[in-house]
């Protein structure tokens, strides 16, 4: 889209203000700047406007203006995404859902809640907590990220291992379609008739429309919870322990791994009780009925000991348990103590390949002269290598991008995937051919077109931008578009 002229821009601004009210439109350059990236600062782009609707009707009217103008638009929640998913594309409209953040209805008998998309994930659990309920999907960013962002990225979290990802907890959605129509996908019952369109929408990364109401399941808090911290002197032992636990037929609620560099950052941040000299620690949680929980716990302790754990202990009380989780969930942010920036990767691998892949990750990053911290959902084989770098040092970003691509390639090679939960967004769109064939991508493109025929709804995301996107299966390294544009170099 051509750049807006000043006249056109102020006319449009007035029109947008007529929809959402005077305080609901941003267009000053300094204000737009703040919206130039999400949790991944490697990518940035400026919008023409950021708008703040307060109802589905507002969203629909905004979308219709954008379509009329041929102006791209994108939904934004809290902007904690880690793949550039909510970035605008060459100007256009960012539709912030942060002023639609109410819990509209809670039905405890049927264990569901109807919420607006801008509601912070954790605030839903707070709202239903006094009645003994909670919302199960718990991304580590849950204190800030929104339910709308969660459904778009089909977000997971530590407890995904037992409880599934966001899609397993969404019953229905009210959606403003990319043409401005307001429709319901799914509803309030588990078994809606017809196609599972709510299921299709979840994980569509904001490219199928904008959710304006979401019906989610809420769960009763488990009767009992036990959290175990296992400490290892070698990262291989920790990997082996993960497999040993699962091999015993146990289904923990969560199995998280955290390595030494990350432990040290987290301890600096909040002093959570992880031993600083450990090579790795596992945070393992079991929950459910009180009866039998001790027995499960013992078997986990045993599996860890057999794998060589130097120390295994259960959190003594709720306060200690909360503190251990606080450490785990703050890990990404805590990297700020050891590095001015980081880029988190989000690969998935078969659990059995953990030792091999972690070893390769360390080699790849070291070869680029960089450091890496690992903190991840080990039980799911969902890796998060965090490559630390300094954006002020010339050439470092390029090396990060290069290392990232190689890591993604390894994940694909061992039969895994290039995203567990953070979405493809902008960052990984060019890695899609690592795992999808041309036919796969063409099929997905047809689905997208059915929802989003003009392509104006969150363009430039998910699908590779290169013509060579037809390459099948794991492929050799291809230069990242950033490198092609000469913005970065591979050494």
């Amino acid at each position: 889209m051509a750049t807006l002229t000043l006249d056109r821009k102020s006319a449009l601004r007035r029109e947008l203000e007529a929809i959402v009210g005077r305080g609901g439109v941003l267009s000053e350059p300094d204000e737009l700047l703040v919206y130039e990236s999400d949790g991944l600062t490697l990518f940035r782009a400026l919008a023409d406007f950021v708008v703040f609707p307060t109802s589905a009707e507002h969203v629909a009217a905004l979308v219709r203006v954008a379509q009329r103008e041929g102006m791209p638009f994108v939904a934004r929640g809290a902007g904690t995404g880690l793949s550039g998913g909510c970035l605008p594309s060459e100007g256009g409209l960012v539709i912030s859902l942060m002023r639609m953040n109410r819990v509209l209805e809670v039905d405890y008998d049927n264990q569901l809640a109807v919420v607006e998309p801008g509601l912070v994930n954790l605030h839903l659990s707070w709202a239903v907590g006094p009645h003994g309920y909670y919302y199960a999907p718990d991304p580590s960013s849950q204190q800030a990220c929104t339910i709308g962002g969660n459904i778009a990225n089909n977000s997971g979290g530590p407890h995904t291992l037992k409880y599934g990802v966001t899609v397993n907890h969404v019953l229905g959605l009210e959606v403003v379609m990319p043409d401005g129509e307001i429709v319901w996908l799914g509803g309030k019952t588990r078994d809606a008739l017809g196609y599972d369109l709510a299921g299709v929408f979840v994980g569509s990364e904001g490219t199928f429309g904008i959710a304006t109401k979401i019906v989610v399941r809420i769960l009763r808090k488990p009767q009992a919870v036990k959290t175990v911290l296992a400490v290892f002197d070698q990262i291989e032992q920790a990997s082996a322990a993960v497999s040993a636990i699962i091999a015993r037929g146990l289904v923990p609620a969560a199995v998280e791994m955290i390595d030494q560099l990350t432990i040290q950052a987290v301890e600096d941040a909040f002093g959570c009780g992880y031993p600083r000299d450990a090579a790795a620690a596992l945070l393992i949680e079991v929950d459910g009925l009180r009866a039998g929980i001790e027995a499960q716990c013992e078997r986990i302790v045993d599996a860890c000991r057999q794998s060589g754990a130097r120390e295994v202990r259960a959190a003594a009380d709720e306060a200690e348990r909360q503190l251990l989780w606080k450490g785990r969930k703050s890990a990404f942010g805590a990297y700020g103590r050891v590095s001015p920036a980081y880029m988190v990767m989000d690969g998935v691998i078969p659990r059995t390949k953990l030792p091999y892949v972690l070893g390769r990750v360390n080699e790849i990053v070291a070869a680029q002269g960089l450091r890496v911290g690992n903190v991840f959902h080990a039980g799911d084989g969902n890796l998060h290598p965090n490559i630390l770098y300094d954006p002020r040092k010339p050439g470092e970003e390029a090396r990060v991008v290069a290392a990232g691509a190689e890591i993604m390639k390894i994940c694909a090679e061992v039969g895994g995937s290039i995203s567990g939960e953070h979405g493809i967004g902008l960052e990984k769109s060019d890695f899609m051919p690592f795992i999808f064939s041309a036919a796969d991508l063409a099929f997905m493109q047809r689905l997208k077109t059915a929802f989003n025929p003009t392509g104006l709804c969150n363009p430039g995301k998910v699908f590779p931008t290169r013509k060579s996107c037809g390459e099948a299966g794991p492929v050799a390294y291809r230069p990242h578009p950033i490198e092609e544009r000469g913005l970065a170099q591979r050494f």
Partner: protein
């Protein structure tokens, strides 16, 4: 268009605003975990009014990517400086220092018109700068209130003619007590001596809330402290928060000299902003030749009253105070000094006192130094939120630990038609001590908390 950030200036020279380092911006990794804990973001939903957004604005300013445009000034000025973001920040961004530097830069570039400059000079230079001027002003104000002139002026609508934020100042004026005498230079310990402490008696605090100071001294004495109250000036916190950096530095030096000369082991503070600010003297004077280490050493001797008292069990006897209260955490106690446990532990030691949890107890009430005067609209939104939360507890009184919060929350409750007093922690402790009798400290007054939970005038 979308691009990677490789084209950012590769400069590695330290980032600064108004000569103050803002290198701390580089600790922010943009994770956003602070967002939902920021009162202004939670009210507005706009990221320029969130910590992550403001840090980004400050960084862009320091890098020269943007200038001080009207919107930028507006968003930075809307920051409460409550530092709730620091409590949740895993990266340890020193947010308070960043926003102070930004505010100093705003003052430098935008000193405002003659009226505003004169007003700031009057406040920061004259009133806060000299205890004598402050006392004289207080005497004048007391006359204004006691003589009935205030009622007359308010009824006549004359306040509307006052320039700038003066009408708001006028409306917020607490009734000034007739007795504004400074604290005795020494309040001796009762029983076995445990420590020798000095008290910050505060500038505004000493004239408006002298009763808090006296209560603090009595409670300290009861707990075995010789309490010194050397003649002193203002610690400079309001100046620093208001962007008046140069005077803040001078005031810090004078304060350090005063307390060093007094020769106490600990400096006890009963106002949150002052305590947090004095603990940061090390950073404030880091680049002042000859002062850096001295300031850091001094800062380590500063303690909030609750922090100090909670180091040991309270000495008895404490009389029962049979009422239900709730505790509001002042920002610069809970976020600025990370003191959360101690006031609650102290309250728990008062017999028969029931303490109920206040939802969002650590959310700013909107007082925030002079914020309620400079940003009345946002202050009011936050105050109403605070009042709703207090109402939900059904408490008979609110306990907190800072005069600004007391004035603000009390005004909010009164406006909502609630007859719920707001007390300083030391007042309720003092009440438990004085009701218990025993070996009394020479005392002038103590708050009377009658049956309805009301605090009566502090009579002699």
């Amino acid at each position: 268009m979308t691009h990677a950030t490789s084209d950012t200036p590769a400069s590695t020279s330290p980032l600064a605003l108004h000569g103050l380092s803002v290198e701390g911006v580089n600790q922010c990794v943009h994770c956003g975990l602070c967002l939902a804990y920021c009162p202004t973001f939670s009210e507005l939903g706009t990221e320029m009014d969130s910590p992550r957004g403001r840090i980004f604005l400050i960084k862009s300013l320091a890098e020269g990517r943007i200038g001080l445009s009207d919107p930028t000034v507006e968003h930075l000025s809307l920051c409460l400086d409550c530092r709730a973001c620091e409590t949740v920040c895993p990266a340890g961004v020193p947010y308070g220092r960043l926003i102070e530097a930004a505010k100093a830069e705003i003052e430098r570039q935008r000193p405002g018109g003659a009226a505003r400059r004169a007003f700031r000079w009057l406040n920061f230079g004259m009133l806060l700068g000299s205890p004598r001027v402050l006392r004289a002003a207080a005497a004048g104000l007391h006359f204004y209130q006691a003589s009935g002139l205030q009622r007359l002026v308010r009824r006549s609508g004359l306040t509307r003619l006052l320039p700038g934020t003066l009408p708001a100042w006028e409306a917020l004026l607490p009734p000034l007590p007739a007795d504004r005498a400074p604290l005795a230079p020494l309040t001796p310990a009762v029983g076995a001596r445990r420590a020798r402490v000095a008290m910050l008696t505060g500038c505004v605090q000493s004239v408006v809330f002298g009763a808090h100071n006296r209560a603090t001294a009595r409670v300290l004495a009861r707990n075995g402290c010789d309490v010194l109250a050397p003649p002193q000036g203002c610690c400079g916190a309001l100046n620093a928060h208001g962007g008046d950096h140069a005077r803040a530095v001078e005031m810090a030096k004078r304060t350090i000299e005063t307390f060093e000369a007094a020769g106490a082991e600990t400096v006890v503070v009963n106002t949150s902003g002052c305590g947090a600010h004095m603990k940061a003297y090390g950073a404030l004077l880091a680049s002042e030749p000859g002062w850096a280490e001295r300031a850091a050493r001094f800062a380590r001797t500063v303690q909030d009253i609750s922090e100090f008292l909670a180091q040991a069990p309270l000495r008895g006897p404490l009389a029962p105070v049979p009422m239900t209260v709730t505790y509001h955490d002042p920002c610069h106690v809970v976020h600025g000094q990370k003191i959360r446990r101690q006031p609650r532990e102290l309250l728990a030691q008062i017999p028969a006192l029931r303490v109920v949890d206040l939802p969002e107890s650590d959310w700013c009430c909107g007082s925030a130094g002079i914020y309620n005067l400079t940003q009345p609209e946002m202050a009011d939104r936050l105050l109403r939120r605070k009042v709703r939360n207090v109402e939900s507890t059904k408490a008979e009184a609110v306990v907190t630990a800072n005069p600004g919060c007391i004035l603000q929350i009390q005004a909010g409750l009164r406006a909502a038609g609630r007859d719920v007093p707001v007390l300083h922690l030391v007042e309720i402790l003092d009440k438990a001590y004085t009701s218990a009798g025993g070996s009394t400290v020479p005392s002038d007054a103590s708050p009377r908390i009658d049956g309805g939970g009301k605090v009566a005038a502090r009579a002699r």
